[in-house]
Symmetry: C2
Subunit: 383 residues, 2 copies
């Protein structure tokens, strides 16, 4: 019994995790040292500096939470929400729904701004809600992993701040794949995951708070409901005090360090352009095969595409054939989209021309279509 000995090598083109660069896996396998070792504290310092660059923020409190993306989501919510706060959440997919759940557990009075899955949250809806009744926090999802929608950010930060609300933003599937400019946008709390466009294995999650968010944390009257995710204490470990809170996931921090280094070496803008180019080519290829893209072109999230299969194609059988015969993983739909769509990611290290062709060629074969129309359409889009 040793399943590790027959572990397959997959191409990860689903909603995450995405393919990891060999250099990141090598960094992760460096010898473990102590969480208070001066050499490790230096690694942490550099991770913080690189995270600030990738998140485009000068927030001092910019760290990696010791858990996966959902842990950082919860950390963001429970540290800036106090019981009784009014929280407005834009809900157009699974992750908005999850924010409502978390804010509710944190004791907030939650208003859900519900919009159809596949559409963004209109600025006017947030404005109308804040004008009707003041709120403490507005929560939005920048890249909705369940639908592949990118939330437009124009005007949201100013609007929230004019009404005295903090702005929380989920950048799990957008960070490192499309522009994320937290300070320009006036975002007060933002989290991401390592396993999407940063192409680092899951297990750590970037989190940043503005000084406004820290002020709210500092002035709370009740304790943060979680000890593990209490950022008023975790801050003393990542900050100058270096006070022990919990043992950091050392080797995962190495991996994130190397992943961020690779992101910055490529350059943020070059990376965004790469994600956009390959996404547009994927869309052309899928449409050439009769797939219907779920999101309107102007709201699509480049790293993750949601598509409905053409008549006669069963999405589950299609995914099983891709994985079983071609070692390519893509995702199925979540919630109301289960069984109706597939989710194809071209994230981070996986966003390559060769993966694009590999996927489209496999799709052509599985669908029994000759003449490589999808690959041709993709090449036309790239040129």
């Amino acid at each position: 019994m040793n399943s590790l000995e027959k572990l397959p090598q997959r191409t990860l083109m689903g909603p995450g995790p995405s393919d990891v660069e060999p250099a990141v896996l090598e960094a992760m396998a460096l010898p473990t040292i102590g969480h208070l070792d001066p050499a490790f504290l230096e690694v942490m310092d550099e991770v913080q500096q690189m995270l600030r660059q990738v998140m485009q923020t000068e927030n001092e409190f910019t760290i990696a939470v010791s858990g996966t993306g959902s842990a950082a989501m919860e950390a963001a919510v429970i540290n800036i929400v106090s019981p009784g706060d009014r929280v407005v959440v834009g809900v157009n997919g699974v992750f908005g729904t999850r924010l409502v759940d978390m804010a509710g557990r944190a004791g907030a009075e939650v208003e859900s701004l519900e919009f159809p899955w596949g559409e963004p949250i209109p600025l006017e809806a947030v404005e109308e809600s804040l004008a009707r009744k003041a709120a403490d926090v507005v929560m939005l999802v920048h890249g909705e992993t369940s639908t592949g929608v990118r939330q437009p950010m124009e005007g949201l930060g100013e609007l929230c701040h004019e009404h005295g609300a903090l702005l929380l933003l989920d950048c799990v599937t957008s960070l490192g794949g499309v522009e994320v400019a937290l300070d320009d946008w006036g975002v007060d709390a933002c989290y991401s995951g390592t396993q999407k466009c940063l192409s680092v294995p899951p297990g750590l999650a970037p989190l940043t708070f503005s000084s406004r968010a820290l002020d709210k944390l500092d002035s709370r009257e009740s304790r943060v409901p979680s000890w593990y995710l209490d950022m008023s204490m975790v801050r003393d470990y990542w900050g100058a005090d270096r006070k022990y809170h919990h043992t950091a996931p050392i080797n995962m921090v190495y991996a994130l360090h190397e992943g961020l280094r690779i992101v910055l070496e490529e350059g943020l803008e070059a990376r965004w352009v790469r994600h956009e180019r390959h996404a547009r080519a994927l869309w052309a290829g899928l449409e050439a095969l009769g797939w219907q893209l779920y999101v309107a072109p102007e709201h699509r999230l480049f790293p993750l595409t949601t598509a409905r299969p053409p008549e006669g194609v069963d999405e589950k059988a299609f995914r099983a054939a891709l994985l079983g015969e071609y070692d390519i993983e893509i995702g199925g739909g979540l919630g109301p989209l289960a069984g109706k769509v597939v989710r194809v990611g071209l994230m981070g290290a996986a966003s390559t021309r060769s993966n694009l062709h590999g996927f489209l060629e496999a799709a052509e074969r599985i669908m029994g279509i000759d003449g490589e129309p999808a690959q041709q359409a993709a090449e036309d889009a790239l040129s």
Copy 2:
């Protein structure tokens, strides 16, 4: 700027993390695959089976929490404690204190049974508390990492169950290093960390619940206060449903798989004997150098030894010399023991005769003692 390029190789003889076997680091660097990939689900199944063997339990709910030991501690506390529950916590060090904090945040009415640091919690104290007033949960620390005390377990499970209370046990520093027999002891909730006697990098944490604990979770009237650590949902991912909750830390699960395989290959009893032998030799060596062992012999935790320096030895300078000149990490004291003791771990892969000698030789040199009395005393104890 790349601190990873000059990362030192340390010998980890502190309170954790401990040295990691190269095979575990190699397993961790295997290619990342998806968290719903059938090949990964098989890895998870085997991890669960091996965890049950190492924890000596048949509990179906035996998983690895996606966080470090403190995340599993919090998961154990908040899932089985409901607001208003009466909780009795044995407090004789930092980790009992942390349990009080967590139980308080979970809304419990907490009674702390405070005993001096360095001593175990007497059965009679628990009995007296339960007889005085019924409690819902009793929480104890099996291996107190801040002091190096091992809690005797005789009679505790029966006592708690007779009084209708669940028994929660912290086995972070004991699992894999000394006997942990959860079912025999009647433990209902137990957690550990990967980075102590299992010798896997930090970032995952074993957790198990008895059917009694699951019944309490199933019958709660309020939601678990954390979404990320809500085991009523996480259970559906680790169980037969395989329902997505959050993305598991894939590569850390590989590492834990390999670490558990190595533990079982050595054999639990052989491993406990190894830890005891090296601990006894360490004690002899330290005493030969004039260090005073902090805990009475019958209550010492083999994997972790706490010792007061002899007159004229500054513990902080001693530790700095060990790290700086010999690349050996040991720990300082926590809380009231800060500056007063050192903590020396011989855990998992680090519990070797060569580490024992390396440490004692370095200690002799730093203290300027000739004739190798510590190494000699250690050898005598081993023979």
